[in-house]
């Protein structure tokens, strides 16, 4: 029927508005089957709206959305058994015990995963009889992840899966998502953590103000191996500073202002470049607060594309 050959997710020209606020602005993206795809962007970028449209919670106002070849609204009953959803704000009864909730959702599926295995895998055994309202934030997140995967979905949508988790739980979650991919499950995750996207994703879609600002493999986006120098100064620099520093450094480097106090220099981070940056500071009476050398990261990509910090 062609459904199994279609991409996991096809969003075309999606536009969603709440009153006068445009949440998603003519967004198009494709998710290939069997991949982990990260939708990256700051809070309010339109990530959750896009995901919830794919999950059938809201109808596309214009444009189209297909998930596993299905229309998420009109073919909801065909689609829902095939996908797993981890909502950012969806929860459980306040008095339900963790394992009880997991068993319940398992019972709604024809062929669920074994609950004890999943409990063990996600470290929920110690809190299995704890009412949901008494679980820690991280435990609630892990339970929500378990609820998303218990039905053996072909595709899981996970919205900010590691928000509020400690480092150990984050690693466990990442491993689980990677295992899902190994088993052929498609994973779509939203995150505003750069390291999560860089480490997990086969493909990253960077969204800001409801628009796609960049899309590609993480190493393509960061042009892996490209080094950066970040210069932070004590006083706001004049508007002419980026151009003046660019002129001082010459071709082969790229200078971009990030906010009023820092400049991001992409190019060879060698002694020569550093010397030129120091000389420029001295000539222009600029007092450096810090000068950081590093590899270009998705964080830098985001800063360069939007001029804003990603972290909330």
């Amino acid at each position: 029927m062609g459904v199994s050959e279609s991409p996991a997710v096809e969003v075309e020209d999606l536009r969603m508005a709440y009153g006068a606020t445009v949440a998603v602005d003519r967004l198009s993206l494709t998710v290939d089957r069997g991949t982990i795809t990260a939708v990256l962007g700051p809070n309010g970028a339109g990530k959750t709206t896009t995901l919830e449209t794919c999950e059938g919670y809201r109808a596309a106002q214009s444009g189209s959305v297909r998930v596993l070849g299905f229309d998420p609204q009109r073919q909801r009953r065909d689609l829902l058994p095939r996908i797993g959803v981890m909502l950012q704000d969806g929860g459980a009864w306040s008095g339900v015990r963790a394992v009880e909730m997991l068993r319940h959702v398992a019972a709604l599926h024809a062929n669920p995963l074994e609950v004890p295995m999943l409990v063990d895998r996600l470290g929920l055994a110690s809190c299995g009889r704890t009412p949901y309202r008494r679980l820690s934030g991280g435990q609630q997140q892990r339970l929500k992840l378990a609820l998303a995967v218990v039905g053996r979905p072909e595709l899981v949508f996970v919205d900010e899966p590691t928000a509020g988790m400690d480092p150990q739980a984050r690693r466990t979650t990442w491993e689980l998502l990677q295992e899902l991919r190994t088993d052929g499950v498609t994973v779509v995750l939203t995150t505003h953590y750069m390291d999560e996207a860089e480490r997990l994703a086969d493909r990253v879609h960077v969204i800001d103000h409801g628009r796609m600002v960049a899309s590609g493999r993480p190493e393509e986006l960061t042009r892996s191996g490209t080094s950066t120098i970040k210069l932070v100064v004590t006083e706001p620099f004049p508007p002419t500073a980026p151009a003046s520093l660019q002129a001082a450094l010459g071709a082969g480097t790229e200078v971009q202002a990030v906010g009023a106090h820092s400049l991001l220099i992409t190019g060879p981070a060698d002694a020569g470049t550093l010397a030129k940056v120091s000389a420029w500071c001295e000539e222009n009476g600029v007092l450096p607060e810090s000068l950081t050398l590093g590899q270009r990261t998705l964080e830098d990509v985001f800063l360069q594309l939007t001029g804003r910090e990603l972290a909330p």
Partner: protein, 247 residues
């Protein structure tokens, strides 16, 4: 392979889950059993002093107390529980599960009927010890009243939970329960309300109370109250179908 469980299995799972959660909640049990029993025992005591009817007070009061119990579960408990399910995102969570909306509602109704059966068992046992002798020929009529009364109150309760925030639902559902207990002709017959008798017997509470009394006290099939309850069920279902959402 992923897939949905067969619908009857999903509905049964949902009904089991909701029943467990209802019974786990102390206030709900208070509302469901303790208050109706207080009304029953208190009513019998009061009747002893005032000698209201020629019939035994327990026979007159028990059908209405059962009606009150049905109302507390299918209206107040359901509305409050559903309001908080929406608040805590449970409905949203279930909205992405294979359970369809009709299955969720069927599960809720299933759990209401289980809880009501337990209420009838407890209240009926206590009433029997107090000398209650229901008319066996009225059992069919009483069961129909409980089913249609559940339909009417549950649809109205779901409408309330869909229309208001969780805290407001909690307040309004309890307030409506108290108002109907006092002025809704549930336990006392409509005739006790004087000039307002015609109005209160058209309320779902008045119809349920009258129907239970017609059936269990006189052994008849309460046609008019059943029609009134059916009409309320239709109204409540139409309102809920228009407004009920997962979020």
């Amino acid at each position: 392979m992923p897939g949905a469980a067969p619908l009857p299995r999903m509905v049964a799972a949902q009904a089991r889950m909701e029943t467990r959660l209802l019974l786990r909640n102390g206030e709900q049990v208070l509302l469901a059993v303790v208050i109706p029993l207080i009304v029953l025992v208190g009513g019998i005591e009061a009747a002893r002093h005032f000698d209201l009817t020629e019939r035994p007070a327990v026979d007159v009061l028990t059908p209405g107390v059962l009606a009150l119990a049905v109302m507390s579960t299918s209206f107040t408990s359901l509305a409050i529980a559903t309001g908080f399910e929406r608040r805590y995102g449970v409905l949203k969570r279930l909205g992405s599960s294979p359970l369809p909306r009709a299955g969720l509602l069927a599960g809720k109704v299933g759990s209401l009927l289980v809880v009501e059966a337990l209420q009838v068992l407890v209240i009926g046992t206590v009433a029997a010890f107090l000398g209650w002798q229901p008319k066996p020929s009225g059992v069919v009529g009483a069961v129909l009243c409980v089913l249609l009364g559940t339909g009417a109150f549950a649809s109205l309760g779901l409408f309330l939970a869909g229309a208001l925030r969780a805290e407001a639902t909690l307040a309004v559902a309890n307030l409506v329960y108290l108002l109907l207990l006092a002025a809704g002709a549930v336990v006392l017959p409509a005739e006790a309300y004087g000039g307002a008798a015609d109005v209160v017997s058209l309320l779902p509470s008045g119809a349920l109370g009258a129907g239970m009394r017609d059936a269990l006290l006189d052994g008849g099939l309460p046609v008019v109250p059943l029609l009134v309850l059916a009409a309320w069920t239709a109204v409540g279902t139409a309102l809920t179908a228009r407004t009920f959402t997962w979020e």
